[in-house]
């Protein structure tokens, strides 16, 4: 046909290989259908990985001495940790209700399984400089005998065990209110907060009277 001849030089050089296209489509459909039954090669690869993981020599199990169990979290692109014994649980931040007539570090209150918690932004509490917007979608619930509140975190990294010997005292450059709430810093630049001080701090108790 004349028109076919006329059209082809205008487009890209080689004509479409419809047969190859059809084969590729068939293959993709097959892949989707067999997604839940991994192939033998896939199974073999997974089993191999597990064998290697199991065959690895475990870490020197537990170095003798004192340990600290901490919950590590990320806040404003820095890693912080609090001792596990002061942490009741972690939860996603949902249904935050701002509370009027409170200091700036009190963001508001949340309902966690029928329990009302106040939420503290420790960046504001420590008067750290704002470093842009972050996720702030996790709460770490701190609890002591007479105190219960949540602090905000961007993400929860997990629970770690840190040898007490590895903890260095606070950096001399850190001054002011931050220094007062620090337990120390690990070589991995993990800042360990003193949750006990936070829980017993007087300034956390807000007694605000609003006139009339």
């Amino acid at each position: 046909m004349k028109t076919g001849e006329k059209a082809s030089p205008g487009k890209q050089g080689p004509p479409v290989d419809w047969h190859a296209v059809r084969q590729r489509l068939e293959k993709a459909r097959g892949a989707i259908e067999h997604a839940w039954t991994p192939s033998s090669a896939e199974t073999l690869r997974v089993l191999m990985a597990r064998a290697q993981a199991l065959g690895r020599v475990p870490d020197p199990a537990e170095t003798p001495g004192e340990h600290l169990d901490v919950v590590e979290f990320v806040l404003a692109h820095e890693r912080y940790a609090v001792e596990t014994r002061h942490v009741r649980e972690v939860a996603p931040l949902e249904n935050l209700t701002p509370l009027p007539c409170t200091p700036a570090f009190v963001l508001g209150i949340v309902n966690l399984r029928g329990e009302i918690l106040s939420v503290i932004d420790i960046k504001k509490f420590f008067e750290l400089p704002e470093q842009g917007l972050t996720d702030l979608n996790r709460i770490i619930v701190l609890q002591s005998e007479g105190m219960l509140f949540g602090i905000l975190a961007d993400a929860i990294a997990g629970v770690r065990r840190i040898p007490a010997a590895a903890i260095q005292p606070s950096l001399p450059t850190l001054t002011g209110i931050r220094e007062a709430y620090l337990l120390g810093v690990t070589p991995g630049r993990l800042v360990i907060l003193d949750a006990e001080r936070l829980l017993t701090d007087e300034s956390m108790i807000v007694q605000e009277q609003v006139a009339g």
């Binding site: 028109t3 919950v71 596990t84 009741r88 972690v90 997990g158 629970v159």
Partner: protein, 545 residues
Amino acid sequence: MKWFLDLTTRNKLFAGFGLMIVFLVTVIATAYTGIAAIQASQKSLYQKDFANAQDLMFLRSEQNGVRVALLNMMLLARQSDRDIWQQDIRQRSQLIAETTQRLLERNRHDARLSGRLEALGTVQAAFAQTRDGQLIPLIHANRTDEARALAAGIQEERYRRMRAIAQELGDAAVERARGAVAESERRTAQTVRLFIGVGIVAMALGLTMVLFLNRIIAAPLRAIADSAGRVAAGDLTADIPVDDRRDEVGLLVTAFRRMLENLRRTTHEIHEGVNVLSSSSSEILATTTQVASGAAETATAVSETTATVEEVKQTAQLASQKARYVSDSAQKASQVSQSGRRSVDEAIQGMNRIQEQMESIAGSIVGLSEQSQAIGEIIATVNDLAEQSNLLAVNAAIEAAKAGEQGKGFAVVAQEVKSLAEQSRQATGQVRAILGDIQKATSAAVLATEQGNRAVEAGVRQTGETGEAIRLLAESINEAAQAATQIAASSQQQMVGMDQVAQAMENIRLASVQNVAGTRQAEVAAQGLHELGVRLKQLTAQYTI
């Protein structure tokens, strides 16, 4: 002296010659006076002294005659003869009386002379009385002796006295005449001396005038003549001194100076003009040479053009044949364009079908995109579940840590749960990324189909335009066929015209040959002009300015 120099030459000449004329007039007057005096002297000599002397001689002669007659009467005896002699005596006596009277009359003013003449007259009267009263009657009476005595006596004495007086008077007259002649000679000599003196003075004055006029007229003229000679020899640098004389010489000097200045200026200008002429003629010569070579080139070019015209003629013949061929070809092309139009219509239908296909492809791809969006929602849910599992694992780890040693195994399980949750999160991230790629690919596919659709629309439009173009092409080809026929006819006329052009080119060639010859002549003429310029330059170079 200045005033004289300022006189005109005419006045100078008038002055010089006037002086000479004055001298001449003086000389003439002197001469006239002298000659008149001499004339008067001679006149008096002739009219008075000479006449007196003559009259006295006549008187003596007549008295002699009378005496002779008396003696004859005495000698003759006949009466008739005596009467003849008596008659003669009477006549002579009358003459004597008249002469005496005339003398008296002439010398009335001379007292001494008139006195002597009175005495003569008295003696004569006495002689005549005696003769007529006594002697003649005695003779007639023939008393000859007595008559003879008387005649020899008193009459003889009277006669002698008369003769003496006459002699004396005649001598006196001669003396006086001699004196008058001497006076006349003296006066003549005086006049001659005067002439000589005046002549010498006039000559001296004339010589002085000549020298003077020479000095004031001829010398400046000679100086100007010298300058003119130098000018004639080509030396225009001669300097004429300023002369404020107001006569013709002064005017001539001034005019000559002005003439020389003008000549100098004119020669200078001529010199420059000749230079210009010379250079211009050189340029003309060069130009003419160029023109000549140009004309020769033109002649060559015309020859070439003639040959070219011949070729063009053949080309026109060829063009005529080609035009017929083109006409035939145009007929065939018209038929081909008809079939082309049909093909284009079919192409338009095919294009429309392609458009429909493209639209269905676009719908399928959009459906695919929506389905992948549903997958994305499912994946978001899975991701949320992974997050919650992660938190649950952390809480479990916290609880395990609180349980101390008893919770250690639980902590391991919590760790595994956390790891699985992390893997789920990573998998959902990968699925989300793949979904993003699928979204991009489907968008690109939709865009491509849209573009394809547009391309097909453009193709339809272009095919329509192509059909229209082919139709126009067919019309054009028909027109071209007609035009080719006309071209064939035109090229026939063109061939005739080319023949005429060839003829005209031949004429042009002849004209260009003549043009070349004419240019050669012009070149020769320019050469002559150039040589003339050079010669003029040499001529003007002779004049030193």
